[in-house]
Symmetry: D3
């Protein structure tokens, strides 16, 4: 499978996980090579890793939330929380994950991440 095919496969995966195809528009003043950043980042994550099958989608989305929250990467964390809720992870599981993060990565990171989780919970008012 070529990079373009892996990129295309990755975009299809984002559609399943997020309910809509990930849209990464080029910006003003951005060089043409910027498309390569998009292709490689989507291929590496959604094309090559999310399509693997030993770890199921629920387990993989828990791992994704844990990585983004530990790094304190706000916007990626927001995206991974949306994917988790779309993949059948419950809000109670996410609370448990942040309590685990509180224990292992500490209150400073966990507090920051939980504010983002609360904002994503608010986007999904009718979901458990």
């Amino acid at each position: 499978m070529s990079l373009d095919e892996t990129y295309e496969r990755g975009l299809r995966v984002t559609e399943q996980l997020l309910g809509q195809r990930l849209d990464l528009p080029m910006g003003p003043g951005e060089p043409a090579s910027g498309i390569d950043f998009r292709k490689l980042s989507v291929a590496q994550t959604f094309g090559e890793s999310w399509t693997r099958t030993a770890l199921d989608t629920r387990g993989r989305s828990l791992v994704s939330v844990a990585i983004a929250a530990t790094l304190g990467a706000s916007e990626p964390l927001r995206g991974q929380l949306r994917i988790a809720l779309n993949s059948g992870v419950t809000k109670d599981e996410i609370v448990d994950l942040f309590i685990h993060l509180l224990a292992y990565a500490g209150a400073a990171r966990a507090f920051e991440g939980y504010q983002i989780a609360m904002a994503v919970f608010a986007e999904h008012p009718n979901q458990d």
Copy 2:
């Protein structure tokens, strides 16, 4: 002492340190288990650690600022700086702390943290 008691003790400590009881309201769409995240995070920090006595409150608040600034955790850093100023740490000591952070954790982190310190200094115009 039970978790609920340690949580309650922690909330009383936040009142002493911040001049008002920490208020962590539940958000829309947040599951009921979210209260456990609040209880455990307050119990672990203000209930179990801030109440210890080998390290005094001034030393402990310097350590708290140093941890949050090193992690680059903005909102926790803001809270710890307020606690430090309320606990008798002087602004000159905070400047010295950020100069130490500049030396050991570098200009990128120190610059980011110092912007937050300047915002907290501005909230306390009449304090040394």
Copy 3:
């Protein structure tokens, strides 16, 4: 439940997860207060978080490995990998987790962590 009870509960959990009770002997020259570090760290992790039930043990151990690997915390990572293998996580799932870490947290961290995973795999030669 008091801190001593939560600590004791946490130690029993380590026995289930690791096949033997976690042993944290005091060291030469360590002050008596060092026991409090043990009590609080075991209570906060194994006593308060691992005993929660929204996230199951398999999901929780995946999250634990992800946090330790993202932080680059070698000895905690080794412990969490052992717990994961003892909790029914397969080696193939762990490989998938590190491929996900490679994608989201990068080759430098993933390479370091995978060396530790290989060492733990070698301790469990007959397990899938």
Copy 4:
């Protein structure tokens, strides 16, 4: 060379690198010692390191962008990207740098940093 001289030299370097002298005004409620934080941070970075000659300005600005992006330090990253574009680094080189960051430090950090790069690209619409 005294600290004041190294600070002054550093400020002149910022003028060359940014097209205008770095301006770090004191804030309301900030103590007089705050000037020392400015002097030491400018002296340490622009006064002592940017003036060295083994690494040329282009190489040094690539390294600066890499450090700030790896740390996830947003405002310092913005400044270093402006310096890089002013120092003859091309936008295509910056894209390549973020693709390298994607590989080695992962998609979470690289995605966050690339958003900032896109904002800086937009400030320089007519530059390659």
Copy 5:
């Protein structure tokens, strides 16, 4: 180009950069899927990124050293330093890079990384 081809291309690149093909032997007890971790990590780094041409090999190896040193990833840092010296980066440039890291990422990280640089310098006694 398929993943296997990108992996193979990446291995050829390691041969050019390190003077010998990167060898990543499977370990005892490691599952067969472990080969996928190798393929993806080599493809993502040496196959997809090091083969790009906007950033030249010297610039790219400076960036690689900066990322690994900022993360505090010891073994990856060692490898990147060897690549840098093999790619025409001088020892004086590496010293300048660590002085820049000292300024921006602080003495704690810079000190740790410089110990590794000294060990790699010792492997190359006759090189400038």
Copy 6:
């Protein structure tokens, strides 16, 4: 004060803090410019920051331990713990600091750092 003077002042400070002058011998294959890394790192830390007086030596050494432990920088942490014990910080205060680190930066980092603290405690068997 010139860089050489600040370096010399910094070395005298290390003698007061550690009981012996910091010795940083040049290594085999290290370029002559390596002396500049030593001069700048000692000047920036012990020369410019430790000599400041708003924060006292005890407070500063607590902050130093907190920064190094949060970063997970093992060898710098070992040095800062020795400085702390030489500066009148008690072992009980260090235990309290690690309990605070446990709360705010989590069990993974705190566990790693506490192992180093135990090793330093063992070097000082007769001190409180």
